[in-house]
């Protein structure tokens, strides 16, 4: 059975030979994948694409959507809004895709969401995001990625109860960490915590001793860190060597599986919340992980965005099947109502929140153990994101 055929190579032009439809009413579902395949966030784009490709292959092996293979057009947005805009226009106007799928960075998301909404084409985004402070509401926009709020809501009371009430916030100085902390603060005070320090340093900071000195001076019980990338490794190593971690626990986005191989001893035993881990023990996930490892020969931890795009394609296929056609309004209505159980996230049924179209799933509380595996402490239940649309 034909697997999905990417009709456009990286950055290449569609040959225009796509047969039947696209656009309104045809029977072949065409999805435009818009991902940063090159540029600074290429690793996330690649991770998203892997889940996407795996799901498309599975859907087509099982007969496709509406009896026809799901077709894919791939475009590289390079992680920049100008390129994303051009690529999205091409997908919408030239290739006439039925659904746009992808984008990683916030600014490309905003650009593409505007275009998709104007063109009245559904747009699905797989990577985690903050929705509270940039709602991006649109009936055409479906948010597969978990939100900061969903991850922080169970984490805050747990950390306060376990480690203490004094919290220090530290982050890289750009939009995401600021909105992350804006989301965290009300949750922390609701849990009875007191923010004793809040420090930001520009991206590319290699020397953290001054910031660490200020954090130490505030004597926090734990540190909530939204420092990203190489800076996070520098922060963790220097926090250890300068004695901050002797008296303070640390959690946040800096504590994740991706960084584990770099600083295993610093990560062991640290707490975090997540929606997906390749360690989740259910039949669907075991199969997914085995297929992933076989297909990509990659033993590294599987990132959440891969699982999100994988589930997203399956959600889409089910929704379009139920809709009975590729007309945009039908797809939007079907996606809003679609439910799927026994996913890689677990046995529970998942669906898009009717208020803000964020995907609601279980969130888990876990510790990082040796080898980078998450040891699940407990499920924290399904957390709804409170963004109002």
């Amino acid at each position: 059975m034909a697997a999905a055929t990417p009709l456009a190579a990286l950055g290449g032009c569609s040959s225009g030979q796509k047969s039947s439809s696209g656009g309104a009413g045809g029977q072949t579902l065409t999805v435009g994948l818009l991902a940063p395949l090159t540029g600074p966030v290429a690793p996330e784009g690649k991770a998203m694409r892997r889940g996407f490709d795996m799901a498309v292959a599975e859907v087509n092996a099982a007969g496709g959507v509406l009896g026809k293979p799901l077709e894919v057009v791939v475009e590289d947005d390079q992680g920049t809004p100008s390129v994303a805009t051009t690529a999205a226009r091409k997908l919408l106007q030239r290739d006439r895709v039925d659904v746009v799928f992808g984008t990683i960075t916030g600014d490309t998301t905003i650009a593409v969401k505007q275009l998709a909404t104007q063109a009245k084409v559904p747009f699905m985004k797989a990577i985690l995001d903050d929705y509270l402070h940039s709602p991006l509401c649109s009936r055409y926009f479906f948010k597969l990625g978990e939100s900061d709020y969903q991850l922080l809501e169970p984490l805050a009371p747990f950390m306060v109860e376990r480690f203490g009430r004094r919290v220090a916030l530290v982050g890289s100085d750009y939009s995401f960490p600021h909105s992350y902390n804006q989301t965290a603060k009300p949750l922390l005070s609701a849990a009875g915590a007191q923010v004793v320090a809040e420090e930001y340093a520009p991206l590319g900071t290699a020397e953290w001793s001054s910031v660490i000195g200020k954090l130490k001076g505030a004597r926090p019980d734990f540190v909530l860190s939204s420092v990203v990338g190489g800076d996070a490794i520098a922060l963790l190593k220097q926090a250890q060597s300068l004695g901050l971690l002797k008296s303070s626990e640390i959690t946040g986005v800096s504590i994740n599986q991706e960084f584990y191989p770099a600083v295993p001893t610093l990560m062991n035993g640290r707490w975090g919340t997540f929606r997906y881990s390749d360690q989740l023990d259910n039949a669907a996930n075991r199969k997914f992980v085995a297929d992933y490892r076989a297909k990509y020969s990659d033993d590294a931890p599987i990132p959440s965005v891969t699982a999100n795009s994988y589930v997203g394609v399956h959600l889409l296929a089910k929704a379009v099947g139920a809709a009975g056609g590729t007309d945009a309004d039908k797809i939007v209505a079907a996606l809003a109502a679609v439910k799927l159980a026994d996913t890689v996230y677990g046995p529970e049924e998942i669906s898009f929140d009717p208020g803000n179209q964020v995907l609601n799933t279980n969130i888990y509380l876990a510790q990082i153990a040796s080898g980078g595996k998450y040891t699940i402490s407990r499920g924290a239940g399904v957390t709804a994101d409170p963004t109002k649309c």
Binding site: G204, T205, A206, S209, G213, G230, E258, A262
Partner: protein
């Protein structure tokens, strides 16, 4: 009191890697008139050399970085720098920026942009005047101090250094008096490359090793060089000290972002007030020295 000691230790720590990068940049800029925009990426190469040899003892890693720096220096000088002498500012900027891109992309292709880490050879902390400070950072400060002292000793107390400074001051006269410009250029370029790579290998256990690591060091190093007289070898050392001092002081009282903005504003002001710190000279075309040659009585003018 311990606050002051901590500030001092932070200053020494901030100075350590910066001074090596500044001196290496200053050597290449002063002697060869080339602004090497890839200097930061050479630091990154040193750090990745440590990551690549992380299973081996630390000193083996440093030796590997040294050899890599030597090879890279020779290749770059032969292959690229030679074509840039006397050609002007823009070709050098473009070419070295291109080298930087190649280095970063190579590191990304080989190791991906996932941050890596290198273990320090010595852990723990040591008490300095009542303040506990990481032992490794003290070690790095000592090693760098020795290195810089050695570089300055060679530059100002050896005949090789004398010939090098003569070449900087008046290339044609030095050539007429028996110093081969080709060999001097090669020597200086390789020395600059090796110092930068070494800086990276020493910094690796403290930071996160990513392909864009070097870009963090470049602006500060440039300012350190610009604060001194062009061609001076001791100048970048003092410049680096000033930059490190301002950095630590500003970070004590302001948030990191504000401190960085104020730092660069202050440096820009400094240089605006001292414009003789900024003039660029083509080494191959001058027939008169910009400043009188140092050391020894001046000849009858």
């Amino acid at each position: 009191m311990s606050d002051l000691v901590l500030l001092l230790l932070n200053f020494v720590s901030a100075l350590s890697v910066l001074v090596l990068v500044a001196v290496s940049l200053g050597l290449i800029f002063g002697q060869l008139g080339i602004i090497n925009l890839a200097q930061g990426d050479l630091v990154m190469v040193g750090a990745f050399a440590m990551y690549a040899t992380r299973e081996l003892p630390f000193l083996v890693g440093v030796a590997t970085a040294l050899v890599l720096g030597l090879l890279l220096g020779v290749v770059l000088e032969r292959g690229l720098a030679r074509a840039l002498y006397g050609r002007g500012l823009m070709p050098a900027l473009l070419a070295t920026w291109g080298v930087g891109i190649v280095l970063r992309q190579a590191a990304d292709a080989l190791y991906s942009s996932t941050p890596h880490a290198v273990a320090a050879p010595v852990g723990g902390s040591v008490g300095v005047l009542g303040v506990d400070y990481p032992t490794y950072r003290i070690l790095v400060a000592v090693v760098v101090a020795v290195l810089v002292a050695a570089v300055l000793a060679v530059a100002y107390r050896s005949s090789l250094g004398l010939r090098m400074r003569a070449c900087i001051d008046n290339l044609e006269m030095a050539a007429l008096l028996g110093t081969s410009p080709q060999r001097m250029f090669m020597l200086v370029f390789v020395a600059g490359t090796v110092l930068a790579v070494l800086a990276g290998s020493l910094a690796a256990p403290i930071v996160g090793v990513t392909p864009t690591l070097g870009l963090s060091y470049l602006p500060a190093a440039f300012f350190a060089v610009l604060l001194g007289r062009p061609g001076s070898i001791g100048g970048p050392v003092l410049g680096a000290a000033l930059v490190a001092f301002l950095t630590v002081l500003l970070n004590r009282f302001f948030t990191a972002t504000v401190a960085q903005s104020l730092l660069f504003a202050a440096l820009v002001l400094f240089i605006a007030v001292r414009p003789e710190g900024v003039r660029w000279h083509p080494p191959a075309r001058r027939t008169r020295p910009l400043q009188p040659a140092r050391g020894g009585p001046t000849a009858a003018s």
